[in-house]
Point group: C2
């Protein structure tokens, strides 16, 4: 946990943001600046800053992020129409917050990947 | 394994494509139509068609895809400059091949996620 990290604060319930889902390891919110009609963020509760800083024992939580994303796609009704999952890492990617998160984009025909 | 799946055929060594990495579960190739200066595909050897079709026991292989991507980013020298990881699922995403794969895009300032 990091005191001043927005995602950690949401995870601790300090910021009044609707959670679309949570379990012991992750929570899901809508992006406040959506880039598509449906734009969800799947976020580990643990303050993992980046993939680069993670040890190899973290495969399970990473896989869990993707499985939860898959379940959220079902819940949002976009499994058939399709969706894109994105992890941004570092300056060239446009990563905005130093707490690992997975984007789920859906609800329209998506353009180029970057 | 699927007989006529390009990725399965590469995984079996039936198509002469340089592998940047492989282990017992995944292999890595360069995208033949790169969308960025560096565009790698991290591909499970098992013919997993989509996230939707996978059972929940597959978290480990999904996490492994991300860990291998992280290692490839190091190998390509883009950990500091940054990179984007993308999984496309279904029509709206532009997914082109029905064998799950993870894109790694890097080497320039990336644009919108979709």
């Amino acid at each position: 946990m990091a005191d001043d990290c927005i995602f950690c604060r949401i995870g601790r319930g300090e910021i009044d943001t609707p959670l679309l889902f949570q379990d012991d390891r992750v929570f899901v919110v809508r992006d406040i600046r959506p880039k598509a009609p449906k734009h969800l963020l799947i976020i580990p509760k643990e303050h993992l800053t980046s993939l680069a800083d993670m040890d190899l024992g973290k495969e399970a939580i990473l896989g869990h992020l993707l499985i939860v994303a898959r379940e959220m796609a079902k819940q949002e009704g976009v499994t058939r129409s399709g969706y894109r999952l994105v992890i941004n890492q570092g300056p060239d990617s446009g990563q905005e917050l130093a707490h690992l998160h997975l984007h789920l984009l859906a609800g329209r025909r998506l353009g180029a990947m970057g």
